[in-house]
């Protein structure tokens, strides 16, 4: 019995991502649900005139989640199936690998999104299409951020190997409290607000709520969402190339499948 305990104890203590994983989930859950509870306790009438707002935001967030996780899954599946080395010895440029993953992640996300959108109308009498033409821009912005996160996580997998896998699953949840998905940014403490404003998510979800509740459009929110998306996207590409070079020096590409 002690031996089995030791086996897992050694495993946990030898891997920082595993330790982080243990601390991370309770912290994130408490933070996210703390802000949500706080918001509903103090703003009971906020959503009175727009019952579909929460559901619309949930669908938008799920699209982001599916895009990001979908991208990570494409990369992880190559590691799990021990096909990783085969791919990296094929005559493909890094740009070609990224482009194909980006396109495949979109298809995966759309396959998940379409049934969700279709179900909300008959089940809850709500249509996400109420967001009008701006829905396209919000989805595009979420897609860009989703694949950016996917590329960042893939860069981590290249750099650190499969032990980075846990981080791959948790990036979206880390950002959720700052993304202001279900509550306005004002509910966050000031320090958190400053962090949130550096992410495209807050502009996207604030704008979704603005369109649905106030029936107006603030182009500036959409502009800032794309601006930050552009910054993070470029950063993620640079980091991916950097990680590829580090992996070539450290030998991670060879050991990845083992």
């Amino acid at each position: 019995m002690y031996g089995l305990f030791l086996r897992h104890f050694y495993l946990i203590t030898r891997s920082f991502p595993r330790v982080l994983d243990l601390v991370y989930w309770p912290t994130i859950q408490i933070t996210l649900w703390g802000f949500i509870s706080n918001f509903f306790a103090t703003h009971t009438t906020y959503y009175n005139n727009a019952v579909g707002v929460i559901l619309t935001c949930a669908i938008l967030y799920d699209f982001l989640f599916r895009t990001s996780i979908g991208f990570n899954m494409l990369f992880l599946e190559e590691i799990w199936s021990r096909n990783f080395t085969n791919l990296f010895i094929a005559p493909m440029k890094i740009g070609e690998i990224l482009t194909s993953l980006v396109a495949t992640a979109l298809i995966r996300a759309l396959i998940g999104l379409i049934p969700a959108v279709l179900l909300t109308s008959p089940l809850f009498g709500i249509s996400i299409l109420d967001l009008g033409i701006f829905l396209f821009f919000l989805f595009l912005s979420l897609y860009l951020f989703g694949i950016t996160l996917g590329i960042l996580v893939s860069a981590g997998l290249l750099r650190y190997g499969p032990s980075f896998e846990n981080i791959a699953w948790s990036t979206m949840f880390l950002l959720a409290p700052f993304g202001c998905i279900y509550y306005p940014i004002e509910i966050l403490p000031e320090v958190f607000q400053k962090i949130a404003y550096l992410l495209p998510l807050v502009y996207i979800f604030e704008e979704a709520r603005n369109i649905l509740i106030n029936q107006t459009v603030d182009i500036q929110n959409i502009y800032y969402a794309f601006l930050w998306n552009g910054v993070y996207f470029v950063l993620s590409i640079v980091l991916f190339y950097y990680s590829f070079n580090v992996a070539k020096n450290k030998g991670t590409l060879i050991n990845m499948g083992e």
Partner: protein
Amino acid sequence: MKNLVEVKNIKKNYGKNEAVKGISFNIKEDEILGLLGPNGSGKTTTIGMLLGLLKPTSGEILINGQKLEGNRIEILEQINFISPYIELPKKLTVKQNLTVYGKLYKINNINERIEFLSEKLRLGGLLNGITGELSSGQKNRVSLAKALINEPKVLLLDEPTASLDPEVGDFVRSFLEDYKKEKKISILLASHNMNEVTRLCKSILMMKDGIIIDKGNPEELINKHGRKNLEEVFLKLSRSKNELN
């Protein structure tokens, strides 16, 4: 015969650890070069550098006259690799896997190529089978088909017959001999199977602690070290101090 592979004084350091300490060798066309050495001798690191998966700390690699550094994509079109430590996606059928790699290697007539390889490697009845459900011997032949999908000029083989039964192992060796002769390709064979190396290789490199400690053809090495077979030579060199520096 021209050299298809030229390795010039390559070194690879992982921090302070010197995995490969400056080795040089060539592989001619229509030649199988055996790469022998105990675990941790630097064989996999050397193969990794030849595949462009590892950047040498110093030195130069030329494939078919082109420097690997700066021409990675063009060179990867001309080489391929097989190892028991890497696999093809298990859920795909054999044909789907070969088609995927045919596309990745930009092969024009993929179906014709698959048909040719399936005939040569006895894959006919397996093409529609799920790759993950195949036996070790069948998977090995499929991996070999993938490795030959681009008609490589240079083939790198890491333990190509490990875990195969004698019949399949013999089939793979015969196939490699015939294919090499027919296509005049260069093959680097890393193996711990001394009978296999004796049969396939006219020249051998013995590696230990990141350097080449001896080289020659199997018969020469056996006579030089006064042993009965290559396995005994391998054991002697593995246990002795480095002979060549």
